[in-house]
Amino acid sequence: MSQLIDMKNIGLQAADMVDVEKGRVKKELYSNPEIFEEELDLVFNNTWVFVGHESEVPEAGSFKTAYIGRQPVILSRDRKMNLHVLQNRCRHRGATVCEARKGKTKAFTCPYHGWGYGLDGSLRALPKPEEYDGVFDKSEMPLESLRAESYQGMVFATFNNDIEPLEDFLGGAKKWIDLFMKQGGGYPVKVLGEHRFNFPGNWKIQLENTTDAYHFPIVHKSFVSSLDEATADIFDFLDGEGFVEDLGNGHSVMVMIPQLVDLEADLDQPIPERFSALAQALRDEGKSENEVKKLVRAAHGTGFNLNLFPNVSCSMAFFRVLRPVSVGETEIQHVALGGDGAPDAFNHKRMRLHEHFQGPMGFGTPDDGEAWERVQKGSMAGTDGWILVNRGMSKLRTSEDGNPQGAVCSETGMRGAYQQYKKMMAAAEEK
């Protein structure tokens, strides 16, 4: 009994480590393994978690595997083109039924005793079924299905059947997802590939980073140096008109380059030097000057990072997806995006730009990784201590949508995320 009470207290203790009023969190949130276990339960198993984009499962029979926290799931598309998110676990003795990262199949077959499941999870066939006569009926043993909903092609799933619909959860973030999806240049946004890497640190360090403009000119100095002058100027945004806005439910948007918020506006802008080869390739393909301008502008990606609590960010031109592995290890995917049916030259440029900054060999990620690793290490110094997320707290204004908004290099988005975290961890009390 005392152990049960202790377990309850861990969630509450973690909630208490978020000091909303002063804008700070206890460093123990990065390093305490017991808190991590509670986070899997109270956060990841209890809210909408991004599992993939619809373009990753384009046809009947397409599937991809993903994780919700530590739990393996399959995103599949059945013959009627309906999407399913299924637990990747045979109902018999519990082996995973799919180990491929993605692909196309007619069925998921357990390698252990050959139970075969349809794309909708239903148990179709099993060897020597007569031994189950009077024990159970096949219809009672489908792969367990999760509640799944999509918005603008982004598929989320949850183990919690009682929480609000996805669109209510996304709330103020929906407007920004709509803007983000304009970067197909007039074509539907499509996943082109992904980079995968891990770092020895807590998942919340990554969660914070996607809404942290303050680090950019410091950590990414070597990236900015590699750009031409005009592009480097665009990335010199700390003194600009950008902002960070708390969108509620842990979500936030950080607008770094205001002129690239709406990629379908200002199409009369001259084509920047670094996109001149792309523009010419598009003209050579017979694209009209208007289409060329629209595609070139879309090739930039958006000028903002939209951070969706807890595991995905629509980050300028790609999806950043995080997965908590252990208290001190996090896996990250940088998912490259392009246009479905868009000219090859456009998608090639998008992939080359992605390779330039993102992924384990990009010019940006290794320096981020180094900083995050140091944060995790530093969190072990001292017996007690605070992480500050109070930057810009005294200079908040109200946005046109009625949300708290601060300077581009404020920590408004981090505070929003920690407020949601605190709310979810405190729910331990009600359990």
Partner: protein
Amino acid sequence: MKSNTQLLAQVTEFIGYEADLLDHKAYQEWLSLWTDSGLYIVPTDLNETDYLNTLNLALDDADMRRMRVARLENGESVSAISVGSTVRMVSRVRILEAGDDLVIARCAMTLNELRHGKLVTYPANVEYTLKPTAEGLKLEQKVVKLLHADGFLRTVSFIF
């Protein structure tokens, strides 16, 4: 036309020389080993050969190689400063095609990196497309096929 033994010796010497330059961070000399049209490629998908049409970990033309080297050398990158040493072993060199204009070879490589006191190992198959010139062999293409290319890698602030 050289005998196979002579060519194998020449290619093996070249690959060993390149490995030595990279382990000793002689990046400017490494840049001079390339043809202008050369491509340095680290794929994410080991079954893919249409690299331009695919997302790679790296696909560097001459400009990107120069920028990659500048990033590692100019002291602005915190991860490049933190990289300790790398030691790579190359072996199992085999000539796949011995043309007059291009020589294609494949070898095994294991790169060991000491990073923050921890040893990280990267086994890979490496495919070289080499162009014989008056100044010796030049790199026309180098494809580093990491054994765990589609897994979750540690970040990389050196050149494979």
